[in-house]
Symmetry: C2
Subunit: 135 residues, 2 copies
C-alpha cells in the first residue's frame, strides 16, 4: 500500500545556489524545475525533481534573514522535511490532541498553498513542514 | 515528467525509537513498515512509508557506534538523504568525472541492495546515499 502522506520536498540550506546545482543537477542528475526568489523570507530557492518529491535548495539573500542566521550557526546542510497531507486542519488537530507543539497552530498560505510548521522539539529534532495537497 | 531518480528514504537519528514513533507514526500518521536491528552498524532502525519514499528512524544501540557519536556531537535530527538510481555504477562514474568525492568509490552490498555514500563536502553539507533500484 502506498501511504497517502508523501514527502513533498526536502529542504537544504546552501551558501550558493549555482555552486550547489553543480552537485544536485549536474552530478546527481536531478532535473531543475525552477529557481525563484522568495522576498518575504529573503531567500532564493531552486526546486529539483526527485520522483513525486522535490529537493529544495535554499540560499539566503540577506545577512539578516532567518536562513542566513541558520547558515552562520549550523552550516550548510539538511534543513527541513515537508510532507503533503490531504487535510491540513485535520492533521494539525490530531497533532495538537497528541500534545505536539506547532509553530503554526493554524495553516498559513503561500502561493495559494496552505502550510504549517511543526516544532522540532516534538519531532525529535527535525523541523517538519506540512503542505495541504492541491485539489 | 517524473524524474527517474527518486528519494528512497530520509534518515533521521533519534535517541529512542519508541518515543520517536509517537510523532512519526501516531501524530503524523505514517505507516510503520518494519523495525529491525542492524548489528553491523550497532543501530536499530524503523522504516515508515511516505508515498514511494520512506522515513528511516535510526537509534544507536551501543555508545561506540558511529551513529551514537553523531548523536552525542550533533544531536537528534536529519542525518542523510538516500536516492534510488537505475545504474549505481554509472552514477558513481559520472560523479567521479565531475570531481565529486565519494565515500564508497565502488558500490557496497547490504541485504542484497547495492549502495554507496557521497561525501558531504561535495554536496554542500549533506550526507547522500545512493541505492541501486531493485530489478
Amino acid at each position: 500500500m502506498t501511504s497517502p502522506i508523501i514527502i513533498n520536498h526536502v529542504a537544504i540550506v546552501v551558501e550558493n545556489l549555482e555552486a550547489a546545482l553543480l552537485f544536485w543537477r549536474d552530478a546527481l542528475g536531478l532535473s531543475l524545475d525552477k529557481v525563484q526568489a522568495v522576498p518575504s523570507e529573503e531567500v532564493q530557492v531552486a526546486f529539483l525533481e526527485a520522483g513525486t518529491s522535490h529537493v529544495e535548495l535554499v540560499q539566503p539573500i540577506s545577512a539578516e534573514s532567518g536562513i542566513a542566521k541558520y547558515l552562520a550557526k549550523k552550516g550548510a546542510g539538511l534543513h527541513h522535511l515537508c510532507f503533503e497531507v490531504i487535510d491540513i486542519e485535520a492533521a494539525l488537530a490530531r497533532m495538537q490532541a497528541q500534545g505536539v507543539e506547532l509553530i503554526n497552530e493554524t495553516p498559513r498560505v503561500r502561493d495559494g498553498r496552505r502550510y504549517a510548521f511543526i516544532h522540532p522539539k516534538s519531532t525529535g529534532g527535525v523541523l517538519v513542514e506540512l503542505y495541504e495537497a492541491l485539489s
